[in-house]
């Protein structure tokens, strides 16, 4: 067991530290402002071009092919500098590398990793949330194309996406989990319209709704085999649940640092319960940082697509909501006097963490039955 950087890791950390100092875009926290989402692409390409993104992914697709633990070094240094978190799209990379053909991987991974091609994820629908397999969007074969009809929601970055990683029903005559397929659908076409969703903290540029009305996708853009869609979706969501994959820990550590600085500037102005809320948020964020180190170390011999991500997702949710509550506590009356208060926005956004990527209740079902071995009724 060694938590210390190897000489190579230390050199990388030093180089990264210096680069961030010169290139930190000073964006607001991702959860609080549309400006972050508007400029996220710029941050992605800047990180990538400097050699600090796609660290553990294959070099033939533009990754750096470093060991998995380099991602936690990135998270830690971003947090230390108060820089924005790394773009979270590792789960799409996992989905494409695990299930896509060589042609699909060569066609799509370089643009996805470099940030030159933007992606959104079309899974959830208004009537298919936790019960994802009941989704109704259809893809019907028409010559060399499939024709897509349906309605997707919670589609992150749909307003700027070039491609949609779409889950659609290609066969209605088989059980619901077996009739789904996955596609890379070009977003720039007349059969697609997208509408922003406004979240409870006012952010409008993270999530969208996408309506497909006769949109077309070449059959060659199918990812995996016909009917493989459910398995692909499960690979993707299992990684979407991992803080080691999405990099959110840097966001929590940064918020805690800001809260600590606020209290430290005038400790006497805060009640003991406010100070304790900040100290507890520090403990939680530290736990998650160390948990990510552990998880990425466990991946040094290759990724695991099992249900463990559900544990990580619950831990991450507890941390985000603890940090959000601490921010609200420290803000006191400010959070109700000023509707644009950042602490208020952090708090409101934190409530989504127990829903997005699968609700906490779904995670607990998975943990209970697939990890703890409890029986199903």
């Amino acid at each position: 067991m060694d938590f210390r950087d190897s000489p190579e890791e230390a050199e990388f950390r030093k180089r990264l530290h210096a680069w961030i100092a010169d290139n930190n875009p000073g964006l607001p926290a991702s959860s609080t402002d549309d400006e972050y989402w508007a400029r996220q692409a710029e941050w992605h390409t800047a990180l990538y071009d400097a050699g600090f993104f796609g660290l553990s992914w294959p070099s033939r697709f533009g990754g750096r092919e470093l060991s998995s633990v380099y991602d936690v070094i990135l998270d830690e240094e971003l947090a230390l500098a108060g820089a924005p978190p790394r773009p979270s799209l590792g789960y799409l990379v996992q989905g494409i590398t695990t299930h896509g053909s060589e042609e699909i991987q060569q066609r799509f991974l370089p643009g996805l990793i470099s940030g030159r091609e933007r992606w959104c994820q079309g899974f959830s629908e208004p009537e298919a949330g936790s019960d994802l397999a009941s989704l109704r969007t259809t893809a019907k074969r028409d010559g060399n194309d499939y024709v897509i009809d349906g309605h997707k929601i919670w589609t992150s970055y749909s307003d700027v996406a070039d491609w949609c990683f779409l889950l659609a029903r290609t066969n209605s005559d088989v059980p619901k989990h077996k009739g789904l397929s996955a596609f890379a659908v070009a977003m720039d076409q007349s059969g697609i319209e997208q509408y922003p969703l406004r979240m409870i903290n006012g952010v409008t540029k993270e999530f969208g709704q996408v309506v497909f009305d006769g949109a077309r996708v070449p059959a060659d853009n199918m990812i995996g085999e016909p009917g493989e869609g459910w398995r692909i979706a499960m690979t993707i969501v299992s990684h979407e649940r991992e803080p080691s994959e999405v990099g959110y820990v840097s966001r929590y550590v940064k918020t805690v640092k800001d809260l600590e600085a606020t209290v430290r500037a005038n400790p006497g102005a805060f009640r003991s319960d406010q100070r304790e809320a900040v100290a507890w948020a520090y403990v939680q964020a530290e736990m998650l940082r160390l948990h990510v180190r552990r998880r990425l170390s466990e991946r040094l011999d290759g990724p695991d697509h099992g249900p463990g991500g559900s544990i990580d997702k619950l831990l991450m949710t507890w941390v985000e909501q603890t940090v959000g509550t601490a921010a609200l506590s420290v803000a006191g009356s400010r959070a109700v006097v000023d509707g644009d208060d950042i602490a208020l926005k952090i708090y409101l956004y934190s409530r989504a963490q127990s829903v997005m990527g699968g609700t906490s209740q779904i995670q607990k079902n998975i943990i209970a039955t697939r990890i703890l071995g409890l029986p199903t009724a």
Partner: protein, 347 residues
């Protein structure tokens, strides 16, 4: 960076778990089996585990905090009724003072259990507590005697029997007015840094014990939920029960991640950083362990509230491990002091 156990550490963990499972109590009534308890104590001694923190080359310990934490966790998992953390911490303190550790000795703690007892005079002036000493016979406990440039070790002997809450480890009172016996040949004065490093180990080992307790009590509870039937089905099929146990499992995993770092930090980081890592782990583990043990009592229903159900043995032990070196509230207060610049006395 590779936070996984080495192959030797994995092997030690396997051995320690096996020993603790074989010789630890399976039922509450086993706690009265003196023969089993004696065999357990002999096995722990024969494995050399009580000497892990004795001095080896150039004063460094025989084994690191990681190995000690692996054993502490394994013993906690099986609520093994054997002294380990107490003697280990005494040996570690003695090593730092350049003294050969006395067999079976432990450290005396102040009544709030958060830190080693400091005795300025020739006799103890207030009652103190020896934690995790042998259950019977006289107890030898190290105390700290302040000097101009730090602390010297001295020994207090007592015969008092404890009536501690933990049914697997002792808390024995050391009466006021007990004579303080100076130790000859003490080459090093203990500095504040020595004591921070020592406390970091104490925080890591008590956290590891809590991680083990959570793992053990959760395994017992899952087995019970699979077998206990109501409404004609196992209660483990009910989501209400499943979610309690899933929450508990996540708490265990988070606690484990924080504790592994604290155990590593005890020997690898500067004393103040190591102690902060220990405080983080302990704050997390103390809160988590109480909730997990309470969940275990709840899942066991009415039987969980009876003396003969093993889970209160875990809960009681968790209460002691939480208080020992300070519970979550104490750790948070200290983190506020060091990280938020909150001075003592500010309410």
């Amino acid at each position: 960076m590779d936070t996984r156990h080495t192959s030797e550490q994995t092997e030690l963990q396997r051995t320690a778990r096996q020993l603790a499972r074989e010789l630890g109590p399976r039922l509450v009534v086993d706690l009265d089996d003196d023969e089993r308890r004696t065999r357990l104590a002999e096995a722990v001694r024969d494995a050399g585990w009580l000497e892990l923190r004795h001095g080896a080359d150039e004063g460094s310990p025989v084994a690191s905090g990681v190995e000690a934490a692996i054993i502490a966790e394994a013993l906690g998992e099986s609520v093994a009724d054997v002294a380990f953390t107490g003697p280990i911490l005494a040996a570690d303190l003695a090593r730092r003072a350049g003294v050969r550790p006395a067999d079976g000795a432990v450290v005396a703690f102040a009544p709030d259990l958060t830190d080693a007892a400091v005795v300025p005079g020739p006799a103890t002036s207030v009652p103190m507590l020896a934690v995790d000493a042998p259950a019977h016979g006289s107890v030898d406990a190290y105390v700290l005697v302040p000097e101009a440039d730090g602390y010297r070790l001295a020994m207090v002997e007592a015969d008092g029997e404890g009536n501690g809450t933990d049914l697997t480890r002792t808390v024995r009172p050391l009466p006021a007015d007990a004579p303080v016996i100076p130790l000859a040949d003490q080459p090093r004065c203990l500095t504040r840094e020595d004591l921070d490093a020592w406390a970091a180990l104490g925080l890591a080992l008590t956290s590891a014990d809590l991680v083990g307790l959570m793992r053990g009590v959760l395994a017992v509870s899952i087995a019970y939920a699979q077998q206990r039937k109501q409404y004609g089905v196992a209660i483990g099929t009910f989501q209400a029960v499943q979610h309690l146990l899933a929450d508990a499992h996540c708490s265990l995993e988070g606690a484990s991640s924080a504790t592994q770092y604290a155990a590593w930090a005890a020997d690898e980081l500067a004393p103040d950083e190591a102690r902060t890592a220990g405080r983080v782990a302990k704050a997390y583990c103390a809160r988590a362990a109480r909730t997990v043990c309470e969940t275990a009592v709840q899942v066991h229903g009415g039987m969980g509230n009876t003396w003969d159900c093993i889970v209160h043995v875990h809960l009681r032990r968790a209460l002691l491990s939480s208080q020992w070196f300070g519970d979550d509230g104490e750790q948070l207060r200290e983190l506020e002091r060091t990280r938020l610049g909150v001075n003592d006395g500010l309410s």
